[in-house]
Symmetry: C2
């Protein structure tokens, strides 16, 4: 397989974009990514789109040729492919595009992630958001996504001595970072007291432990590493791109305080990249719920099980420490347009590795990790990105 690099990145504002349609945000992110490289649309050979639920949210399937068409590129007639893996749709789309370029079949490919979530009433939105869990064995009995993550949180508190305050700190950290990201859905800082005092959603999780529903899109341009210098001064190599899966329903897991899919995707990715977790100074982790982020810190190998909470409480994690996480603001503050999340994480890592992250810039990082989860962990994806010197 050929080595593959990221040549350009783009991202729209995340938030409630009521005045803009799915196709409009898809196009904006794609063209930004194209323009940030020196590629022209004539150089492209395929488009991939990560999207979770356009059929349910906007009554529109077949969104890959839709975005291609309204980008003015339908005349090129090149392949366009939508990939869906719940909230991990973005990273799974990236993984497919990576293989397509690595195989030699395509040279330059745009991979976008997009979701338009706020045009439906809130109850309908909740229902759609629950469609990544098992309908027949979870949803039908009344389970919601926050309820399932609350079960994991309670179990984690019982089994590992984790405290409510521990995971609440992730939301504080996300908002702190998000305040420095002009594209973030929320730019206000919040305090630990506010997180702990917020209305309960599914105890122990409150309103401020849960990432919002957002509209937004993000995109990257991929190409063969050996041709990357022609199109960018700072190619970012994809050192690893790994997907792992697990049972759909939480009740079938051997242990609900860990995502085996994340453990395995990370293990395989570190192997491929010939790196250890301790060598990663920069990570975007999937914290759709604060407890999910805490578990990810453990499952990715940054902390032993039961240690991440204390690390968060002691301020061992964040910009300026040995492990900067969610410099974008994470899912909680940057926002959570399902299909876009996995690509936006990669966009942030690329910006950091290129030194283009503005007020939230981490210094000296040459390698970073992105971690995207679908459902309650039936799909996990880990990408490791490396700046090429």
């Amino acid at each position: 397989m050929r080595e593959v690099a990221i040549l350009g990145v783009g991202q729209t504002q995340f938030g409630e974009l009521w005045d803009r349609s799915f196709r409009e945000i898809g196009i904006e992110a794609g063209f930004q990514a194209l323009e940030s490289s020196k590629l022209s649309s004539r150089d492209l050979s395929a488009l991939y789109i990560g999207n979770m639920a356009s059929g349910a949210f906007i009554d529109q399937e077949h969104v890959a040729p839709l975005v291609l068409d309204y980008s003015g590129l339908s005349g090129h007639h090149f392949p366009s492919v939508r990939v869906e893996a719940g909230e991990a749709s973005g990273a799974v789309a990236l993984a497919q595009a990576y293989l397509a370029v690595a195989s030699g079949e395509y040279d330059f490919v745009v991979v976008g992630g997009a979701e338009k979530m706020t045009d439906v009433p809130e109850d309908r939105g909740s229902a759609i958001s629950s469609s990544t869990m098992d309908q027949e064995w979870e949803r039908v009995f009344g389970a919601s996504m926050p309820a399932l993550w609350a079960l994991a949180a309670r179990r984690h508190m019982i089994d590992h001595g984790t405290k409510r305050e521990h995971f609440a700190r992730l939301s504080v950290l996300d908002h702190e970072n998000g305040s420095k990201n002009p594209l973030a859905h929320y730019r206000n800082k919040i305090t630990l007291e506010q997180v702990l005092g917020a209305n309960a959603v599914a105890e122990p999780l409150g309103m401020l432990d849960c990432a919002p529903s957002s509209d937004g899109a993000a995109a990257v341009v991929l190409g063969p590493l050996d041709r990357a210098r022609k199109f960018t001064d700072t190619p970012i190599r994809i050192a690893a791109s790994q997907i792992a899966t697990d049972t759909m329903a939480l009740m079938h897991r051997r242990d609900i305080t860990t995502l085996d899919s994340t453990v395995l995707a990370a293990k395989r990715a570190f192997q491929r990249a010939k790196l250890q977790p301790s060598q990663i100074p920069l990570a975007e982790i999937h914290d759709s719920y604060s407890i999910a982020g805490l578990m990810a810190l453990e499952d990715l190998g940054f902390y032993q099980k039961g240690e991440a909470g204390k690390a968060l409480a002691n301020g061992e994690v964040g910009i300026g420490t040995r492990l900067a996480i969610n410099t974008s603001g994470g899912l909680k503050a940057q926002g959570q347009p399902f299909g876009a999340v996995g690509i936006a994480q990669v966009v942030e890592i690329v910006r950091q590795l290129r030194g283009e992250a503005g007020a939230r810039q981490v210094s000296g990082a040459t390698v970073g990790l992105a971690h995207n989860v679908g459902g309650t962990g039936a799909t996990s994806v880990v990408h490791i990105l490396e700046r090429v010197n």
Copy 2:
């Protein structure tokens, strides 16, 4: 890229399967495909699923890990990926799996296509079926899929002298072939008079010009060609796998009597396979509407524009002629479970090339073509398959 072969195939009954769920039919097709090769589930490295609209039809996204899980294979934790491209979801999924094996990343992969369409009321089903056209520029003005294909039919009649009887013959041919396929949704033969006399859906198209809504699943197992003999006596090589796209809305096409996406996918596929249309004795073509099938015969290069109608009327096409098409019964008679269609076409070609097609067996074919379309042609996919001697 490595050469890739199909090692096994499987398919469920197509029809109104009210007593069986999405996951059940997905599992049945997958295991059949696995059993028809000599692979064990331990040999597998990934699962791909082509599905168009499970979110809308059964309120369930994230169907790739769902099927993997209920196949009892979640313990392997390998990647599972859903691909969506409207009614071409099956073939686009196959194209992605092909690239993944060709790249060397995965060795043995199951690719399934599945759709459960008949559990929703008919009006809801029609709405979902229209979600592959452009919502904002077609659907909102009242366009339906049969109405758009009827426009193409009228234009074809005016521009190319095609007669109503010409495309009606495709439905007769499909039902003739379907009567010999035990898995077909419809096994009754129909006459030209019945097609012409059926109630109008969107003139000139009547009830019997339109493929049904069906439930069903189909699957194939892929692997590297150089290891194929270990798992099957009759490996079928994927000689070409090509996707092309076009505008979403019909009104933006340069000519609505031709699908440029099909023309280009076919051209690229023939180039890759180093074959001419005249060398293909066997094809499954996407005739969701009879006129679509007629246009496909021209766009794939089997006939000049305006000649396919006469060829159909003269009985030049069909089992026993130089070009056997839709030996499965095609979309009209075998049925049209959206995400499964593109895989079922490939299953039929493989069965024919292996000499396992029973009463509908074509004699002596060593190469065949499968043609799958999404929407009104925003996506087209062509696969060329070859028996390895």
